[in-house]
Symmetry: C2
DNA sequence: GGAATGCTCGCAAACGTTTGCGATATCAAT
DNA sequence: ATTGATATCGCAAACGTTTGCGAGCATTCC
């Protein structure tokens, strides 16, 4: 039942176990015939290298930790998929943890991962306080932040240009004729949301529209929270002709609430999302949205992380990817109704 | 930069490092005052136990491996979420791998995980050949199979009663007045699909309906494959009044294709799914479906696994959970049209 | 022929823990 | 005072690798 070790191989081969190690590691300090003999014996005896022993002496585990708020969330799981694939390509395995949007838990799993001696950590922060919260631990292991970009963060992060995304989206809605746009679901404790809100506001200013908000007091942006928020919103008639949701999930929640009260999308109300999660593409959903290039972000995150792992003296880098508009069916052109000042 | 070890603590405390270890492990073979002094110093110096060193000597890593086809898939990611939470509660971390529905890759990642010395593996098999494919490796590490239940499998697995699920669903459709039901998207290389198909067939027999199939040649059940299949199906008029999709994802694909050709659901065609993924609950989707108790399955999977890890001599166990019908909006009562034999 | 070089390979330390065993000290009991 | 028991702690081995160093040997060069 005991696994066959390098010493067992050495014994049957009649050589020192150092030589076996060299045969396996592809070292040049070994004769060709002995190498082949060793490899043959390894195959016959079913040897597999013990990574924890190797990690012990090499002082690196070839494991990277991934902390997300919750892996059941189409955005996170898509990211995680591509991260795992990319990491494995580079010889790394993934250790997955859910922070459940809880700062205390996030700290716990983070220090757990450094105890695990992971070579690096990819973190999708719970919220904007994550950095301060993790500061003492972060110096212990290369870390790259994702998605939630913390402004002026002295650590590496990967994200889309959130500001540009909402700006682009707002311009799009303006071009469709909308003059009153509600920004829906802004969270206070998220810099990502902050930036998105700013892009929206600046675009409004540019077109001399009055920005208006429906803020969210929830700690996460799920369909449920979106629905609750929207239900409340729909209790009184809406003067805006379009809703720009901070998140696709929130937009789905808006759809749900709209359905309940009989508001038709896009006939009565245009709806624009952000993220382009997998299900926004469903024809029944067909949500117009701002896309985050998730696969690119994922590969880039592991590449940046590995770079940092390879060169500890390297500084940090911020990679901001450009979002793009995915035009589908939830935004409608509206006639310009006469306004007092026109 | 170097992490503080148990020896560093011993040095400043002026004691042997064995004593430090005992203080940390909560051993009774140590004085109360020294324990407290050691713990204090550990806190001051920021000591964290090195899990790989511990794993080395303890000969267990407290890591469990999770292999799924692809984590971006609402069913898998929901499962993974609850598995990770449950595992961490029990002191285990999760190492995640995607097999991408590929047997060769599945074998690769499996042996990678045993090399990682994981204490056990939870496997959502790529298909029905997975067991044969992994047989030589499986003896090396406690394994529990999930979801894809392999009939007569001499290993532990957790799954719903797929047979009962489709049987229940078919009965439901029959009760709604449907007399011609198409089973959609059966895969050949999946026992889960096999069992679901059997439940459907037996229910048909019971009600003397003629079973009919639209088989899938694809290796996975995604929205895309469902849509392609359904597009082809919808080229000629359908005599059936209801479609029982083998999977919610497939059902979503059917919706997509139906939308394209103008078939209304449920007015023109009733649609029943299986799995109850998160997005089936969206009001725009509102898919009637057979639910798998995913959270229960997840907790049970780690519990069964840990049991097996704790007692190596334990045999295997099969846990079959009962599915339930979630009645939503895609199945419609139909009038019984006069049939020749009535 | 001697030295220098290059190629293989073995020796042993090291990575940071846990733990069985033995040593010492303390204390109560006889 | 001697013994025995008990509590506390140190010593050192062990887990399975990698790797610097040196030994042995053959080859080559002057």
């Amino acid at each position: 039942m005991k696994n066959v070790t390098i010493k067992d191989i050495a014994k049957v081969a009649g050589i020192s176990y150092a030589t076996v190690s060299r045969a396996l590691s592809g070292s040049s300090e070994i004769g060709e015939e002995t190498r082949e003999r060793v490899l043959r014996i390894c195959r016959e005896m079913g040897y597999t290298t013990n990574y924890v022993a190797r990690s012990m002496v090499m002082r690196r585990t070839k494991i990277i930790g991934l902390i997300v708020a919750n892996i059941d969330n189409p955005f996170m799981s898509e990211l995680a998929y591509h991260i795992e694939i990319r990491a494995r390509e580079q010889g790394y395995n993934l250790m997955l943890c859910n922070s459940s949007h809880d700062l205390e838990l996030e700290r716990q799993v983070f220090s757990l991962l450094v105890g695990r001696q992971v070579d690096g950590i990819i973190l999708v922060p719970a919220n904007s306080e994550s950095y301060e919260n993790l500061k003492p631990y972060i110096s212990k292991v290369p870390t790259v932040f994702m998605s939630e970009n913390l402004r002026d963060l002295p650590e590496s992060y990967i994200s889309v240009d959130n500001y540009r995304g909402t700006r682009m989206g707002t311009e799009y809605l303006y071009a469709l004729g909308h003059r009153e746009i509600l920004y829906f679901g802004r969270r206070k404790n998220s810099v990502t949301h902050q930036l998105r809100a700013e892009g929206y506001v600046d675009a409004c200013r540019e077109f001399s529209m009055e920005p208006s908000f429906c803020n969210s007091g929830f700690s996460s942006s799920s369909i449920q929270t979106g629905c609750q928020l929207a239900r409340h919103l729909f209790q009184k008639p809406l003067r805006q002709t379009a809703i720009f949701a901070a998140t696709d999930s929130l937009a789905l929640g808006v759809m749900e609430a709209a359905e309940e009260v009989g508001i038709r999308i896009p006939e009565d109300l245009s709806l624009l999302g952000f993220d382009n999660i997998m299900y926004s593409d469903l024809p029944k959903i067909n949500l117009t949205t701002i896309e985050q290039p998730k696969k690119t972000m994922a590969s880039m995150a592991v590449d940046v992380l590995l770079e940092k792992i390879g060169d500890a003296s390297a500084g940090y880098s911020h990679r901001i990817l450009t979002p793009s508009l995915i035009e589908r069916g939830t935004c409608r052109r509206v006639g310009l109704q006469a306004k007092p000042n026109e």
